[in-house]
Symmetry: C2
Subunit: 462 residues, 2 copies
Amino acid sequence: MRLLLILLITWGNVVQLQSQSQEKDAFFIRSIYDHNLTQGACYDWLMVLSEKIGARLSGSEAYDQAVDFTSKSLLEIGVDTVYTQPSEVDYWIRGNQTSVEVELENGKIWSLNCLALGRSIGNGNTPISGEIIEVQTLQEVAKLGRDQIEGKIVFYNRPMDATQIRTFNAYGGAVDQRVYGASTASEYGAVAALVRSMTTRNDDVPHTGTMAYAEGVEPIPGIAISTNDANRLSKMLFQGPVEASIISDSYDGGKRNSDNVIAEIKGSEFPDEIILVGGHLDSWDVGGGAHDDGSGCVHAMQVIHTLQALNYKPKRTIRCVLFANEENGLAGAREYARVSNLRNEYHLAAIESDAGGFSPRGFSVDGHPEVLNRYAKIMSERIEKYLAPYGLMMTTGGSGADINPLKSQMGILIGLRPDSQRYFDYHHTENDRIEAVNPRELQLGAAAMTSLVFLIDQYGLN
Amino acid sequence: MRLLLILLITWGNVVQLQSQSQEKDAFFIRSIYDHNLTQGACYDWLMVLSEKIGARLSGSEAYDQAVDFTSKSLLEIGVDTVYTQPSEVDYWIRGNQTSVEVELENGKIWSLNCLALGRSIGNGNTPISGEIIEVQTLQEVAKLGRDQIEGKIVFYNRPMDATQIRTFNAYGGAVDQRVYGASTASEYGAVAALVRSMTTRNDDVPHTGTMAYAEGVEPIPGIAISTNDANRLSKMLFQGPVEASIISDSYDGGKRNSDNVIAEIKGSEFPDEIILVGGHLDSWDVGGGAHDDGSGCVHAMQVIHTLQALNYKPKRTIRCVLFANEENGLAGAREYARVSNLRNEYHLAAIESDAGGFSPRGFSVDGHPEVLNRYAKIMSERIEKYLAPYGLMMTTGGSGADINPLKSQMGILIGLRPDSQRYFDYHHTENDRIEAVNPRELQLGAAAMTSLVFLIDQYGLN
């Protein structure tokens, strides 16, 4: 009886201690949100990145300015170390002119809203002319074959599927046209490829983005046209043949160096367990890269800022990594993983923000199946318990392109999931600027990431 | 043994039937989303409401145009009946001029960004001058008393609390200054009241909104100033006394008629159980009332449109109500409830959308405590089961100002909850226009409402 009593009292104490520690954790998370919403620096940093520095393709001068600015800002926050890590990237130069022109029946010239796709090889100043042939898929080009394709301009016009609730799924279902369209068309003798812009919106704004040529394929220009122009062109093609004249003087700019930016606070108890927060510092060469991925960079920087401001001493090592070259090669991510593996590092967790600075809705968790089996449920329950009051939940799914190479270290990979509805209104366009970012939405994203870092730092993955 | 077998088989059939019906329901909800995201009309309607008709204060000609447009559109969709329901509203006229001017040390005049508050009584063309006294609360005015307040211009400058995750809570904690500020100031002899605009954003845009004078109080002008100007003014007051000169020629425009718009599809099985969907058709007299509450109106109309397009025959009566005069009197809502009670109607459920056309995050459910006790849990589970895949969840809390008077009918009251972060960037300003509304976010709100209507129509509240 006395033993039972002792056990009951002990159990009572454990429960009480547990609930005290829960309250303390919830209170700290609340203070993370308070700090972000009232003293967060991320919007001001983003203003510099997207408006003062602006577009910052890997290898460009602007990219190097972004490296300087973020390194200095991280140093000012007060971290144990900040350094840059070189990586060799393929530099691409848009050139001075991209045009797609169609002569209308009345003799007037219709000049389409267009942007050369990233890594597209142009044709200098010699116009390319040809009849336009509309297709919906890469497979259709193969099916039409050289007979129908040779000498023509292939126009890929399969829209993103508007019925997808998460717009990234719609993007995933359409982007093969942009990435492989020109290469596939070239295999069958086409002279150029036009691609419907990757957005569900009907407007006049062309969207660039990466493309690739398969080995041994003759490079032909790949050019994005706006969705309004794609719709108009498709209607014209329905009525009869259409010829276009294309000029594009973009070209391969050779190899250049581009740095990752790395800042770190050493852990006090488990310094060898790294929790990475990151985004990619490069952007396309149009717009300001405000959502893609200036937001992700300032999210990651804000995690460090908030933990320092709240005088939090992490048990584990918190590392902020701003990756080079995500948009056109992933050289920064590969180099980071290579060096990390060489040093036998262990990333317990890596969290990337690369889906915009919109209102956060949760996290998607990825990893080796064994890791997911062991930890996904616990992680989901912890997020539910502490972060549901902030509108966050966990799903499984992809994390981020830059942290994906770390999967073999058998830690957990996490992507911040902001609301995705507006992302492809701005993605890879002139309009991806600070005006498209709401300060509170941005701050809430940083608070969400910081809170998750805190929970993982406190409890590990268990 | 055989009995057990029979029981098991029967049970198996029940489970199978249940799961078949679940699948059917999930499939129908998916088709609701598909329709909204590909053929929804709500964005086009909103374009007319906010841009062609524009600001539509109750009693104005524009309001009557909005009644015509929405009535005709609902008729075109194909409902059993559309009619208007008159209500008598207090019409308010902003006049031609509102200015707040401060003479600076260098002799220059600083003209503040300002807007008269709705229902404020101006001073014709005679300027009012006085020293400005800054306060944070209504209570502070009472504490300072007539000695300190008489002859002065009271400046209410308590900001909305940025640490609230849901911005409506921050609004609720600050809006007493706008509603009662001028009246309270007048009680202690002030000559005018300035109120910091209701937004967490620091910018130059003044926000109007309703105010009221307590009975017997001498009306003095109540004027909103932008948050940037409030901050600047506060800094100046810290350095020394500041005088302002105010002109405002707004006035009471007397009684006018303003109609509710009501459209209905009769239920096939339970016609006496009404499921109401609604928003308010009036807006303030600035901007286009795109989020507030054009979005709510087109959401409600889209519910009918989608159910008709999918050839859905409701068991219960679905009624779309667009209310008059929510912004400055709630006369439309009161009249609707009065007539409904007179007819002994029963609103099984009423769903209002009046929190903007942003990405929907769920529903808040309200009702008589007995109703909530009985049905809230079931409702929450059903929303979780069918609508969590669309990012929706249920919370308890306020529903909507226009449906609130229906609580006594002992049905359930529901508010659509869109993401609230951007709402007070636009609320009651010149900027509440179609550009601030993302088509997909708007369509998803309509789909969320339609799906919930479908579930309530299928299962009632049980």
